[in-house]
Symmetry: C2
Subunit: 376 residues, 2 copies
């Protein structure tokens, strides 16, 4: 049977049929009223999920393009402080190094961010703070509101990677004071990969760099978005816009509160299973840091063959994720974002429970049963 | 009737059903064997159409992203000479200004490039030459082989925009000595917009810049493409890869020579119609410069209302293009690239012939009849 594996990884995630079918359209002119209306729909719904009235643009490039747009447009030549406790925070730091002077505040992956270090860096004149709201590489949620508050007090610009939180967890760009935030299409909104969206505050515009990238030049995006009909400066990935619009109309109908609550329920269910299995969660939380609402990272005890676990799960037609970089073999991760619900969560947990046995771990109790109780 | 207009513009162009249906797939893991095979198929066929054995990568961004990748990876901090006789040449010059020191050699749009100026610039130490092979903004084909030869002799790197020639006209990257060339998915191959591909010579790698962009970092693309299975460094637009692969399998089956000959036939037919109508071609050619094989630009005589022409054509469900920037109202353009053939060309010409009448131009003879003779 040729059927795609059920992707229970931290993105890309399974797409609703309605979203995929939206891509079937014949080519349309991207400088016309129909495309403009598609773009406007996307911006309208994303503003709800970003919690912002700021300018918001869609880029024809995946999440990393949005990361670079944020730093390249506002950080060139500036003093940047980069908070890192996982792979994507690290990437923001690396991008910062291409454009400005970066102080990287490294915490061990999966442990809380170095907020004391941030305080010092801000006192030392850092002009930009970059951080990841939801670090899927480690399953931790970083304290966005607190970081933004500290940065704002010091007059620094706040750049938040919301790629895997926006659409699946509470995000309040305007209330928190986040100047630049961005999302990725293939994550919590369950659209195809290849687009990202970015919001820009008035304060960020005031810091627009002279030497910014070209394809990701947000001033060009602003100019084109203000035309009638709305446009992008360069040819957009029209089919992906059509699909993202469809995914967002689904999200609009579900409602922001309900969508976040559904994600919270799925996260609770997965954590209940992990607890029942007797396995330790990988991230270390504190009063400010919390477990991710969209991906769960689990430590693999000594003697458990993580690769065999995933191979067994894959044999059942389901993919969960391993660890990245130095965490390979040390953790496994289950994504629970997007258009999935109880059926997919239960299937993934049942397969994982089976795989844990194959990998040499005797579960304390049924994780599936514990999860079903939470999902009911 | 809800049906998309027939797009006879210089891209995007109508896509075959098979190409569009390839995007229906459920999400697949982009770090797996299936995606790797898709990427490998794309590279295999594109190498035939580029005429190269060089490294070749697919970027999840449209043509402008490839332009920036070319200049940003190899031109940062360098002396660039930029040949301009249309909108896209101008864009390459603008991107050059973000990265290096650019001498722009401006020719009036639609007139031959300034090759005498190029000679001088090369003697003056220019390290990089940028030019557009096929300038759809003006319907002119620039002499790629000659430019590459001159640059090579002077030891300069040759960057060629082949966005609207590769797949629809003869391109011989290796024979000509082009170091960096790139195409766009929505042009001659009739795939959806949003991808581009770029080839890189050994000499170009030797000039790799330290301060290159991040999302478009070709060294990262090289590293990921050399893994097994082939990968991209950041999340690719998977659905677009699936569609481009399908479009390229169609192009592979058609064959390079046959595909170019088909485009030549269509170009001949459109030019025959323009001649029959008694209208002047817009571009001025010489011994080296020729009319484009994939888009025809026609001058609009005084007293002819170009806007009314296009409105009348659109009323018949077909879109042709006007002029860009200062050429608005002064030219109209017909695209003839991709998966189209006699039916689409004849329909577009019939609609244009009708529109010319509405716009105040009395045609000398039937362009449709002249074209049919060429297409038969």
């Amino acid at each position: 049977m040729e059927k795609e594996n059920l992707l229970m990884i931290p993105g890309p995630v399974p797409m609703p049929e309605r979203v995929r079918y939206a891509m079937l359209r014949q080519a349309i002119n991207h400088r016309g009223a129909e495309f403009g209306a598609v773009y406007a729909d996307i911006v309208r719904v994303l503003r709800l999920y970003f919690g912002t009235t700021n300018d918001l643009f869609v880029l024809s490039g995946s999440g990393t393009a949005a990361m670079e747009a944020a730093i390249g447009n506002f950080g060139a030549g500036r003093k940047i402080v980069s908070l890192v406790n996982g792979k994507f925070g690290e990437r923001l730091g690396k991008i910062g190094q291409r454009y400005g002077t970066v102080q990287v505040l490294n915490s061990e992956w999966g442990t809380p961010l170095d907020l004391a270090g941030l305080e010092k860096a801000l006192a030392g004149g850092a002009e930009l703070v970059t951080f990841v709201h939801n670090e899927t590489s480690t399953g931790i949620r970083n304290p966005a509101a607190e970081i933004a508050k500290m940065a704002k007090k010091a007059g620094a610009l706040v750049i938040m990677d919301g790629i895997t939180s926006i659409g699946g967890d509470e995000v309040k760009v305007d209330n928190w004071g986040v100047d630049v935030a961005f999302m990725g299409s293939q994550k919590c909104f369950a659209a195809p990969a290849g687009l990202s969206a970015i919001s820009v505050s008035k304060k960020a515009w005031d810091m627009l760099s002279e030497r910014r990238p070209y394809y990701l030049d947000l001033a060009a995006y602003r100019k084109s978005a203000s035309s009638t009909p709305m446009e992008t400066p360069y040819t957009p990935a029209v089919a992906l816009f059509l699909a993202l619009r469809e995914a967002l109309l689904i999200a609009e109908a579900e409602g922001v509160e309900a969508r976040i609550a559904r994600h919270r329920k799925m996260a609770d269910a997965v954590r209940a299973a992990v607890g029942a299995w007797g396995l330790p969660m990988f991230p270390k939380t504190d009063a400010l840091h919390a477990y991710s609402n969209t991906a769960t990272a689990v430590s693999v005890p000594a003697g458990v063959a993580e690769k065999e676990l995933r191979t067994a799960v894959k044999g059942l037609g389901i993919e969960i994720a391993g660890g990245q970089d130095h965490l390979k073999g040390k953790i496994f991760r289950i994504g629970h974002m997007g258009a999935v619900g109880a059926p997919e969560i239960l299937a993934a947990l049942a397969a994982t429970e089976y795989g844990l046995g194959k990998a040499g771990w005797t579960v304390k109790a049924s994780g599936v049963a514990a999860a079903a109780g939470k999902l009911a």
